[in-house]
Symmetry: C2
Subunit: 340 residues, 2 copies
């Protein structure tokens, strides 16, 4: 699998390619599969449908890796929170966590309740070409905590940050509980067939540097360390959106650093590439225009082409209004310019 080789900085004939949120609403096949479920959570829980959605971009785009279709919020859901996905509103988590009772009430055995994800991974791995990698994933403890504390998405993360500054012990106890669940969850995803795992820290950038390391990165790092010690052959990818100013302090035992589009790839290369493989980082908004795709991919190729340990990807996820035609154009174009 060229994806796995690149994660370990081994030579590959071309840079492997996949796109964050490649299984998504921009694909008509996805929308058809989605329509078979009664709601979004049912979609996540139906292993057959999740497997179907996971495989669609492999066929439609020809990418080198599949990422299991699911949502980061299945973890709070199985820890006992009520999670609803209201159309056009985003996720709503009732009874947000604001105190010790809220934290204590969360189930520690959530990883035992996520068989539907493991089953989906098994189905996908059985149906995926041997040269394509299957990626498992989870949200980072901090990112999940923001949803659980805010009760949904947020623009300023004021409630979660207030807890960080006014009740850090409470937040740490929540983060520890989440970390234990995420660790088991990722290990079991690996046992079910995931060839690599990625932790998505979508809201790491909501924290200033010292708080980022205290409340987000340190937990991601601990999870990575545990996974690497138990499954050294499995690449671990860490992706923190908005940490571009903090690169100099990034450390830990993991394999691939996911570069968001806000972080110049040349900066990531000079600070991190001696220690980690890099993945990313085209601005997804370039998908709106073929000219912008060419320009963006060429600029990344200027810096990363021919390097061992580079995985082409976006710097954030695919959006529902993107065209499949442009996504396919991007994959083909990147494949061509990153060939050796």
């Amino acid at each position: 699998m060229i994806f796995i080789d690149a994660c370990f900085k081994k030579p590959t004939p071309s840079a492997p390619i996949w796109l964050m949120r490649q299984a998504g609403r921009y694909l008509s096949q996805y929308r058809q599969t989605r329509a078979k479920a009664k709601d979004f959570i049912d979609f996540c829980r139906r292993s057959d449908l999740a497997a179907e959605a996971t495989l669609q971009p492999i066929e439609a785009l020809g990418v080198d890796a599949a990422i299991i279709f699911s949502d980061i919020l299945v973890v709070p859901l199985e820890m006992g929170m009520r999670v609803e996905f209201a159309e056009g509103v985003g996720p709503v988590l009732s009874e947000p966590i604001r105190d010790r009772i809220g934290v204590d009430r969360l189930r520690e055995n959530a990883a035992d309740r996520l068989d539907y994800v493991y089953d989906a991974l098994k189905i996908v791995r059985a149906n995926l070409a041997a040269n394509k990698a299957l990626i498992g994933f989870a949200g980072s403890p901090w990112t999940l905590a923001t949803y659980m504390i805010e009760g949904g998405g947020s623009k300023t993360y004021a409630t979660a940050k207030k807890m960080a500054y006014c009740a850090p012990d409470l937040l740490h106890s929540l983060l520890r509980k989440l970390s234990a669940v995420i660790e088991s969850y990722l290990l079991r995803q690996i046992d079910a067939g995931a060839n690599a795992v990625q932790i998505f820290d979508s809201w790491g950038g909501a924290l200033e540097k010292s708080a980022f390391f205290e409340f987000s990165w340190n937990y991601m790092k601990q999870i990575a360390t545990r996974i690497k010690s138990e499954r050294p052959q499995i690449p671990v990818i860490l992706f923190s959106k908005g940490a571009g100013g903090y690169l100099e302090a990034i450390d830990g035992d993991f394999d691939v650093f996911g570069v968001d589009w806000n972080t110049p790839i040349d900066r990531a290369k000079s600070v991190l590439f001696d220690r980690y493989a890099l993945q990313g980082n085209m601005d997804p908004a370039r998908l709106y225009s073929k000219a912008a795709i060419e320009e963006g991919a060429r600029e990344i190729a200027r810096i990363m082409r021919g390097e061992n340990g580079y995985i082409f990807n976006l710097g954030h996820g695919m959006q529902p209004d993107f065209s499949v035609e442009n996504a396919k154009f991007l994959v083909d174009f990147a494949r061509q310019i990153f060939a050796r």
Copy 2:
């Protein structure tokens, strides 16, 4: 004025202090003044009320500079767009700019229609102690353009970015038109008594590096150059939220670089302080806790204390749910630890 001296990197007895959005809802005096206006736009247009709000934090907090109370959206408003501030929803701009007709329709003489801001500046300057600076401001062309294109606030800026990638000429024509207005607007604010001006690029970080310089920074830089050539004695402060990954490429003729809380101040110091004064950058969320205020201010003091050309401030604006007590505590604490 120690604020002006610090902008020009002259020695001052202590670091000057002010807080972005210091005239705001967290102050009960502000809410009382606000209640005298029939709506938020009326509040901006009533020079007497705007002057009142501007002066309140000087008395309440003892900061070293007043920033004129207004809103960046008075520019699109006076360029002819309909702007409404719905309670709890944020600004709504009807008939968003999506095509050439939309751009052409915008008034070029908007700076002539903003007498209410100039009048407020005159009132404030006449009532402000001689050792306190008065800061004028405007939104950056790109930041204003995002509101005008999206029709309000946005989480992903997808429509504005789509224009950047699919119709760059159209976006540039909008940005040029905005730049001309902002330039006149700031010059007239200076003529009305502003001792310094700041350009707020709240959404600069919505753009990846090359796009940031093309669509945002270059326009801010041009405005700064023009102001510096016409009014060299007036400090120009540029503040781009989310540009922490791009510091190495920052250039231009201006005086003070505003550091957001996402950009480590030691990094800003090492990359920019030989050329620019620095302002910032405590995370506003620290205002929730006195312990967090002390920790944050001490950390900045460790790096910037005793340097000529440092202005203490937050890394973004004050929030409505902050307490006046903590704000006052911050100002007093910072005053004490930054004293020489």
